[in-house]
Structures are given as structure tokens and as C-alpha cells.
Amino acid sequence: MTTKDTMNGIHVENVSHRYDGPPVLQDMSLDVGSREILTLLGPSGCGKTTMLRLLAGLEDLQEGRITVDGRVLADGVVNVPPEERSVSLLFQDFALFPHLTVINNVIFGLKGWPSSERRARALHVLDQVGMTDFADVYPHQLSGGQQQRVALARARGPRPRIMLMDEPFSNLDTTLRRQVRDIVLWVLQNSVSATIMVTHDSEEAMFMSDRIAVVNEGRIVQMGTPDELYGNPVNSFVLGMFGEVNRMEGHVLAGHIETPLGQVCAPNLPDGTPAEVLVRAEGVRLDPGSSIVGEVMTSRMLGRARLLHLDLEGSDGGPLHVHARIRDIDRTGIKGEVGLSLDDQHVFVFPRTDVK
């Protein structure tokens, strides 16, 4: 999906940015094709929101270059104001104008459209999000989910080339969130915009995105499709962003590391390297034949899986607490000591960066 060779879409080149103090963005480069959805995933304060503000033109670019469809929007000299960028924003607080009705909120964005077409266009985009019936209602009379759908319609109205979404679902409760993001995904896939979303929720990122850029401390740590990031995280930070992991430490000995959960392969690391072994909760399996045993402390049914809290003897002799996510959710009677083994595709070994 990437469009590095064409002129279409968003091109961000070597952008760095700082307020007062340490840089919030360092040498960040991105490409997002039209029709593509890229997510910046990272903890709060990692600089992802600043990236959105730079793209929207709400912040003056200090270093680097931003072009859209071949046109320079900002390069430190040129700085196209937000109203001339053909950008739309979706916020977590919806930011609807409280003094305008739903349809007038949408029409507000249709500046430059022939006045005869505005109402029709507004009704059309409202229809896309299923909100035509609420056209003459004021925002405060709507639920959060409805407000975000109106905000989406308003953002889509002027057919922006860039769509920016800042944690668009975090103000919605779980059920609504599923519905709304479904609608958003559907609407975006039917548009030609290049979309950049910002979130700290990996599940949301994977649900929405063609590609994900994991951001930490102002830098892109890894960028790729959800499959690439989930299957081949470059370090423990990326791995940690995509679900719960059990962490153990050890030293490499002859291409292997001994852990309380058994021996783990570390073929590319020299002997004696201090390493961390990270095992996803879904990588710990029940194995009646295994000699490695753990004691079930708690067993909780989570819907798609069952989460076991297990106690093992750690490598230092102390207790080790391990989470295991198992598929066969019917096994309500699990208790006492169980045999355990590892699923290799959920086991990752990284050299430790905190010790020499």
C-alpha cells in the first residue's frame, strides 16, 4: 500500500520538533498513501499528538518537510495555514460546535461549496454515518457515540485529502466504541483520504490500520503492517504495546536460555549475553505431560479466552507469577498443579539494554 514512488498521499520527511525543553519529535519520517490508514501507536507524551498538530498546521514546523500530493505544506519557510490544507480532524472530545445544529455543524465545513449543494452534501455525509434523523438536533442532545458520528460526518464533508484522528474513540464506552469505529473504518475505506490516527490502544490500532508506526520518545521504533509488528517486534517495547507479556531474565548459554518455563532458543546471541525472555500470555500452554509445573492461583473467564494466574518457582528460588491465556474456556475446574509448556511463536528473546 505504500506509495513512496508516487506523488500521492502524505510525505513527512525528517521532522523534528521541540517546545521548551527536550525534543518531542526526532527526525520522524512517514509516508501515507491516499486511501491508506496509518496509526501512530505509543504511550502518552511520546509526541504522536504533536505530529498531528504539525500535519494540521496548528503548529509551525521547525525542522523537516511535509508534503501532500506533491504540494509542500510546510518546510520551515512555507507554512500553509490549517484552513488551506484540506485537512480534517477528529477529536476524542468530538469538538462539535454547541451553538449549531447537527446539519449546521456539517455545513460549517462546506465553505466554498455552492450554497445550493451544501445541504445535500451535508445530508449525504450524515446519511453515511446514520445520523440524518438528527439533522436538526443540537449536539448536547446526542450521546457520545452519536456526537462522534456527527463529528465524522463534519470531517468528511469537505472531502479532505488528509484525515487526522486523535484518540477518536477513547471517550466512548466499550460497546459504543466498537460500533463507532466500525462506522469510521467503513467510511474511511470509501474515501480517498490519507488517514493518520493516533492512539495508545493497540487493539484499536490493529482494528483500524493498514500500517502501524510504534512511537516512543519522539521516534518511530518500528513501522509495518499489524502482522509484521505482532509477529516480529524489534524490541520489548513494541512487543509490550501488543498485549500482555510475561518477562523473565537469563544469560545465553550455547544458544539457549534457561527459564522457569523451560529452555528457550537464542541462536543469534553470543554466550554470556544478558537477555530478557518475553512470553505472551497466549504463549503459555497447558501441557499435562510437561515436567514444568505451576500452581493455579486464579482462573478467570474473559470471553474469548480464559486467563490463568500461575505461580512457579523462579530462577532465583523466589516465586514467579505468570499469566497464561488459554483457549479452552470450558475448563472451569482448573486448579492445583498443572504442567506447562511454551508456544515458540509467542516467545521472544532480546538482549537486555539495561545491563552491559
Partner: protein
């Protein structure tokens, strides 16, 4: 959830720097700050000058004052504070507790009617009560007629006394305490009051063990407002011949012609204000009261048994009666009686003057308030924060102090301008600030800027930075955003601010007396002068006009209270 809050905060903080008017600011950011500082200086200099006057030696005059009247001034001011403090506490907290916790006849009516006395300035109440209850007034005359008594045969409370002044101010100032403690009682009710009941406390016991302590910051804040107004009062104590620091300032300035000593008295008066404010801070102390629940709902009110219910009704009725109904009716009756004689061309001149001062001040206060509020939003930093804080200090400073400060500072400015014009053009400008209405307006602004500023801030807080960002990215230039998003959303706040300042200017007396240009009288001045000449009935037209204007915001507030089901006062 932590992530979400964290991000939301970051984003707002970041967005502050790039909002709509931020665009204007980036083209004149420095100018904005400089202008804000200029305003802060203009507003604070009079007060600073008064404070610094303490260090000017004045020798004999001061010694004389200190040896003779000063102790009396200070004692009376202090006693007045204590009396009004106790009075407003009992009436304000008592009625607030009754209307929030119990059901009794007329409760819903009392809930909003209890703030009606806000509309009556203390000095107007003083004039009316004197008119009704003095020796020659209708009440005593009737008593003498009915029982055939003469002067020695009966005792009657003396209206024009220190305790009389305490009563007057209690009756018009308790609504501050009522409003704030009522809001506090309602807010705390859901989370803790029910818990206290389930833990075995009776209603009354819960009031003392939970209700009162939790509402303490609100009650103290309400009393602080009431006490600051008490120190500000000039009309009542002057008319009742109670010598306080405020009347002392006038006597020393106008009677003795000693501006510096007057300023020193003003400084002492200000130290009283600071004592009150510090007391509030100190009482608040470390025990920050946080509301642990954000959900409010009306408590099921306890239905009082008949006798107690009637008692509760009476307790709520009396403050309204004494603070509003009685003086209001008296004013109406007298106004009608004297209408023919008093409603002449002069009256309308006074009304016009009042209206002129009030509207000019309201417009300026709103403009400056908006300017500072925007500045704070766009340039959030030490300079703007300090400028805003300083600009809103004046509300705590008594009008007489401000007037003295304005006169001292701006007379100097006037002289400088005059001298410069004489030298450059050979013409004299005279006292272009202090000799005209400009001086009064400056004093009003110093005193009332806090009102318009806080209202503008509240209005602006409703417009989130994200709305600005949304509007910009939807293709609208900063000017358009200001016109199409900010203006309609701010309009209500702007009107509210203008109304509040307007009404306060209409009522204002001490600063107006000192600073008004020669022969420029307002309704308040007229009421004061006629009352001073013992023409109480004749003063009623002007007083009634002030009360009628003053009642507008009170009604607006009442409607808001009556409407708010959860008990929240909507702005």
C-alpha cells in the same frame, strides 16, 4: 483511563499555543502582553500608592488621630465585622440547610426568593428602616397613638446604631453565604450525607458532623464576600453615624483636608480586608475538600412535622421580609406619595447620569475582561497570569480606598499632562481624568474588573481549543472563527458580565462621592444626599430605581436556581 486523561491534558496544553486568536497573537504577541501589563499597572497603582502611604511621615495629624478617633474607628469596624459575620452565618447557613434538607410549606419559593435582598444596597435599607422605625416613623407613631404612650413610656430599639448597622448589612449580605453554602450542601449530599445517615447519625447530627465541616470552605468564602462588602460600606455607617475606618477616610480627606492621612487610614482598612482574606485562606488550610462524587441529585427531603414546618417557613420568610419585602414596599409607598414632587427633570438627569456611568463602565469592563481572558488563554505564562491576578484584586478593596488611590495617582497624571500641554501648545487641559467622569470610571474599573474578567474566563472555558482546531481545519480563517464560533458562544457570558458590572456601578456610593465631577450627581448620590438631609421619603424614588435595576440580575439568578433540578446554578 490514565492514558486518556494524560493525553487529553497534553493535547489541550499543546493546543493552547496554536488557537484561533493565537494567529493574531503570533503577529502581536508582545503587544498583547504589554497591553495586559499596562492594564494591570493602571488598575493596581492606586492601591499600591495607598499602601505605600503608610511610609510617609505625617507627624502631628496622625498622632492626633491615633490619640483620639482611630481606636474608635478600628473597634467599630471590627465589631461590625464580627456582628455581620455571625448574622450572615446564622441566617445564610440556616436557611440553606433548611431548603436543601427539609420539606415545608413554601420551600420551593424560598429557595430562590432568599436571594432577593441582594437587590437592595445596605444604605437603601438603612434609609428605609430609619424611615419606618425612627421616633417619628409610622411604627412608633402608631404605637404611641394606640397605647397613648409618650416618649418615656416605652423602649424601642435604636435603628441608627452600631447594632442597627449590623442588622442592615446582615439582611442584605446573607445571600452570599446562603448561595454558596446551599450549593455546597447540594453537592456533598449524594456522596457523603447518605453515608453518614447509614452510619447512624440523625439529620441534625449529620449537619454538625458532616454537612457543616464539608461545606466549610463554601461558607467561609460566602462570609468573606459578605465581610468585604461590609468593609466597603459607606452609606449605612455614615448615615447611622457609626464611626468606622471608611467614614474616617472621608472625614479626614474632605473634612480635615489631609489626603495622606486619609490614605493611611485607607491602608489600615485594607489591612482589615487582607486579614479577612487571610483568615479565609487559613481556615481553608490544608484540609482541601474535594468532591468525591461528581453525581448530584436531589435528596429526598425530610417532611417536617407541622409545627416545625411552620417554624422553618417562618425562619426562611423573615430574612426575605426584612431584607426585601418590607423595604421594597416602603420604597414603593413613599415613591408614589412623593412622585409628583420628585419625579422631575432633575430625577431623569440623575437617572441618565447613572445609566451613562454604568453602561460606559460595563462596556469597558467587558472589553478589558475579554482582552485579558483571551490573553491568558493564548499566552499562558507568568506575565499574563500575573496581569490577570493583579487586575482582579480590586474587588476586595473598599471603594473609598480605591477612590483615594485614584485621586492621588491620576491627579499627578493630570498635572503632568496639563504641564506638558502648556509647555508644548500653551493650552491648559485642566484635570482631564480626575476632573471628569473618567476618574469615576477608572475607579469603577479597578473595583469591578474582577467580575467581568471571571465571567469572560468562564465563558471562554466553554470553547475548547479543539473547537478552534476543528474550525480552522474546516477551512475557516481565524477572523471567521472568532465571528462564527467564539462570538455566538461568548455572547451569553458577555451579557452577564455587562449586567453584573452595570448593576454594581448603579449601586456604588463611596467612590462616586469622592470622584464624581462637580455637579454631576447619580441616583445613588441623590438618595444619599436627600437621606442625609433627613428627606427620607424624597430619597425613595432614587433608591427604588436602584433596587429595580438591581433586581434584574437577581431575577436572572433566581430563575436559574428555580430551573436547575440538581440544584446547580447554571450560568
Amino acid at each position: 483511563m490514565r492514558f486518556y486523561y494524560g493525553d487529553s491534558v497534553n493535547f489541550s496544553a499543546a493546543l493552547k499555543q496554536g488557537t484561533t486568536t493565537g494567529y493574531f497573537l503570533s503577529r502581536g504577541g508582545g503587544l498583547w502582553c504589554i497591553a495586559a501589563l499596562f492594564i494591570a499597572v493602571c488598575v493596581s497603582i492606586p492601591v499600591l500608592v495607598v499602601t505605600s502611604s503608610v511610609f510617609v511621615p505625617t507627624g502631628e495629624v496622625w498622632d492626633h488621630l491615633a490619640a483620639t478617633v482611630l481606636p474608635r474607628y478600628m473597634t467599630n469596624s471590627a465589631l461590625l465585622l464580627v456582628g455581620v459575620g455571625i448574622g450572615t452565618f446564622i441566617v445564610g447557613v440556616g436557611t440553606a440547610w433548611l431548603v436543601t434538607m427539609y420539606q415545608f410549606p413554601g420551600r420551593a419559593l424560598f429557595e430562590w426568593a432568599l436571594i432577593l435582598p441582594f437587590a437592595v444596597p445596605a444604605y437603601v435599607l438603612a434609609y428605609t428602616y430609619t424611615g419606618i422605625f425612627e421616633f417619628a416613623g409610622p411604627v412608633q407613631t402608631m404605637m404611641r397613638d394606640v397605647f397613648d404612650w409618650s416618649r418615656q413610656d416605652y423602649w424601642f430599639p435604636v435603628v441608627r446604631s452600631l447594632s442597627g448597622a449590623m442588622w442592615m448589612m446582615t439582611f442584605v449580605l446573607y445571600p452570599y453565604v446562603y448561595l454558596l453554602s446551599r450549593a455546597a450542601f447540594i453537592e456533598q449530599s449524594f456522596c457523603v450525607f447518605e453515608v453518614s445517615r447509614t452510619l447512624g447519625c440523625t439529620r441534625l447530627k449529620s449537619f454538625f458532623s458532616v454537612g457543616l465541616p464539608l461545606a466549610r470552605p463554601a461558607i467561609v468564602a460566602g462570609m468573606t464576600f459578605a465581610l468585604i462588602e461590609t468593609l466597603n460600606d459607606f452609606g449605612t455607617v455614615e448615615y447611622f453615624a457609626v464611626d468606622t475606618l471608611t467614614t474616617g477616610i472621608f472625614r479626614t480627606w474632605i473634612g480635615l483636608g489631609q489626603p495622606v492621612v486619609a490614605a493611611q487610614l485607607a491602608a489600615i482598612l485594607m489591612s482589615f480586608v487582607f486579614a479577612v482574606v487571610l483568615l479565609e485562606r487559613w481556615t481553608r488550610g490544608h484540609s482541601k475538600v474535594h468532591h468525591t462524587s461528581t453525581r448530584y441529585r436531589t435528596l429526598p427531603r425530610f417532611r417536617l412535622p407541622v409545627a416545625m414546618a411552620l417554624g422553618a417557613s417562618l425562619m426562611c420568610f423573615l430574612p426575605i421580609f426584612f431584607g426585601f419585602l418590607l423595604p421594597g414596599s416602603a420604597l414603593i409607598v413613599w415613591s408614589i406619595e412623593t412622585a409628583e414632587e420628585m419625579l422631575n427633570a432633575d430625577f431623569f438627569t440623575y437617572a441618565f447620569n447613572s445609566f451613562l456611568l454604568a453602561s460606559v463602565t460595563a462596556a469597558l469592563a467587558v472589553l478589558i475582561g475579554l482582552f485579558l481572558a483571551y490573553g491568558q488563554r493564548l499566552k499562558p505564562g507568568f506575565v499574563m497570569a500575573a496581569a490577570t491576578k493583579i487586575a482582579s484584586l480590586g474587588y476586595a478593596i473598599p471603594g473609598a480606598v480605591i477612590a483615594v488611590g485614584v485621586l492621588i495617582v491620576y491627579t499627578t497624571v493630570d498635572r503632568t499632562i496639563d504641564g506638558w500641554f502648556r509647555e508644548a501648545f500653551g493650552i491648559s487641559t485642566g484635570l482631564i481624568l480626575t476632573g471628569t467622569v473618567a476618574g469615576v470610571v477608572i475607579a469603577y474599573l479597578v473595583r469591578f474588573l474582577a467580575i467581568s474578567l471571571s465571567t469572560a474566563e468562564a465563558g471562554l472555558s466553554k470553547i475548547t481549543p479543539n473547537m478552534d482546531a476543528a474550525a480552522r481545519t474546516l477551512g475557516h480563517a481565524p477572523g471567521t472563527v472568532l465571528r462564527r464560533v467564539h462570538a455566538p458562544l461568548m455572547w451569553g457570558s458577555v451579557l452577564t458580565a455587562a449586567m453584573l458590572v452595570f448593576v454594581d456601578v448603579m449601586k456604588e456610593l463611596p467612590a462616586t462621592i469622592i470622584l464624581r465631577p462637580f455637579n454631576f450627581d447619580t441616583l445613588a448620590i441623590r438618595a444619599y444626599q436627600l437621606a442625609s438631609d433627613e428627606r427620607l421619603a424624597d430619597s425613595s424614588n432614587s433608591a427604588l430605581a436602584i433596587v429595580l435595576v438591581g433586581i434584574i440580575p437577581v431575577i436572572a439568578l433566581s430563575v436559574a436556581i428555580a430551573r436547575s433540578r440538581t440544584g446547580h446554578v447554571h450560568d
